[in-house]
């Protein structure tokens, strides 16, 4: 059928493609998207925390493009609780050419009690970043639940460290990255700035030994992160910790000749 509406000529062609033509078309569109092949994700739970966060970002970008309304980045992710702490305004989001979330590769929450200190470990594979993309910002996000077991006015100090060197016999060499002080009664996403560390890992992939998280009371006593309400592997899928990085293209993507 051929119709004209608002100057746009509409021609719907219903045709059946041969399987070879269909494969060719898929290959062409994958090439436009800059992908060598169709991704085969082993986990594609769209209701996990990272995909949901990314979908929030996607929708905010759409709203901005449609009406020029800039959705405040700080208001994002309210579906799973408000962010307890934030680092950036929305400018770095609108400037980003690409945003990527990374799943935590540590299979089990080892609430490791080493030398009188509890801690939790996280690892992210940054080797899959497309070429020509530079990290402009990176965040580690972990959900803090309300803890009924503790006093409402009790506070915890949560510190994130970059692992510099792993030692089997003693504690690993750590570099402090960021610290937050939170109330036991607080609930929502905690956001830690790991921009410098991410850049370091991209340049030196062999130095990517992950992050460690420590929780202390005001008296300096080490606390199991679970006791402070920090959600781990056994928690709900939509509250799993993850990492998100914002990228700016450093070079023009040129498709290879085929």
């Amino acid at each position: 059928s051929l119709t004209t509406d608002n100057g746009i000529h509409s021609s719907f062609i219903y045709g059946r493609l041969k399987s070879q033509e269909r494969r060719e078309m898929q290959r062409e569109i994958l090439s436009i998207l800059g992908l060598p092949h169709r991704p085969r994700p082993h986990l594609h739970g769209k209701h996990n925390s990272a995909p949901m966060f990314m979908l929030d970002l996607y929708n905010s970008m759409l709203m901005e493009e449609a009406g020029g309304y800039s959705y405040p980045y700080k208001a994002l992710f309210t579906t799973q609780g408000p962010p307890l702490a934030r680092l950036h305004d929305s400018t770095f989001l609108s400037d980003a050419d690409m945003v990527m979330s990374f799943v935590n590769l540590v299979e089990y929450d080892m609430e490791i009690f080493h030398q009188r200190r509890h801690h939790r470990e996280f690892r992210f594979d940054l080797s899959k970043i497309p070429e020509g993309e530079a990290v402009t910002a990176a965040e580690f996000r972990i959900y803090k639940d309300y803890t009924r077991e503790r006093f409402v006015n009790e506070t915890f100090q949560i510190t994130i460290y970059q692992v510099l060197e792993e030692n089997t016999e003693s504690e690993s060499d750590l570099f402090p990255l960021d610290t937050r002080t939170i109330w036991a009664a607080e609930e929502g996403w905690l956001v830690f700035d790991i921009t410098a560390t991410s850049n370091h890992w991209v340049v030196n992939p062999n130095n990517n030994l992950g992050l460690q998280l420590f929780v202390q009371t005001t008296t300096g006593q080490s606390v199991n992160p679970k006791m402070a309400g920090l959600i781990g592997r056994l928690g709900p899928q939509n509250k799993q910790p993850f990492m998100v990085a914002f990228f700016k293209a450093t070079e023009v993507h040129i498709r290879s000749t085929r």
């Binding site: 746009i8 000529h9 169709r38 994700p41 990314m54 980003a96 899959k128």
Partner: protein, 139 residues
């Protein structure tokens, strides 16, 4: 700067050439009535129909559009023609065998954002520039 007589000659030559242009123009117009003028056509790329819902989270597809049609004399303003396209049309009128008409092509392109999983189940939100035709014109 030309004298009266010369001017008249010029005018008469000009009117003759204008007549021929008009004739050609009529012929072109009648031919462009049959064929379509350069314009934007609807074309939807459906990720759903490609069977990619398992890795593309959003969108389900996007309206890409394409440009198609004739860039024939006269190039009206709605065709969004470049100055050179107008000259190219005139040269085509003079020498249609050797000089092609201007091309109907996108003059404005927009970006789209795509949200998808990679092989490692990481999620990528990427902005792709020049994916959607906003306007077509003669180049």
């Amino acid at each position: 700067s030309a004298g009266g007589k010369h001017k008249n000659q010029g005018r008469s030559r000009s009117s003759k050439s204008q007549e021929s242009l008009r004739a050609t123009s009529l012929a072109e117009n009648s031919s462009s009535d049959q064929r379509q003028a350069c314009m934007k056509h609807e074309l939807y790329v459906s990720f759903r129909d490609l069977g990619w819902q398992d890795w593309i989270i959003a969108p389900e597809g996007y309206a890409a559009y394409y440009c198609e049609g004739e860039c024939s004399f006269p190039l009206n303003s709605y065709m969004n023609a470049t100055n050179h396209a107008i000259v190219q049309t005139l040269v085509h009128l003079i020498n249609p065998e050797n000089v092609p008409k201007p091309c109907c092509a996108p003059t404005q392109l927009n970006a789209i954002s795509v949200l998808y999983f990679d092989d490692s189940s990481n999620v990528i939100l990427k902005k792709y520039r020049n994916m959607v035709v906003r306007a077509c014109g003669c180049h």
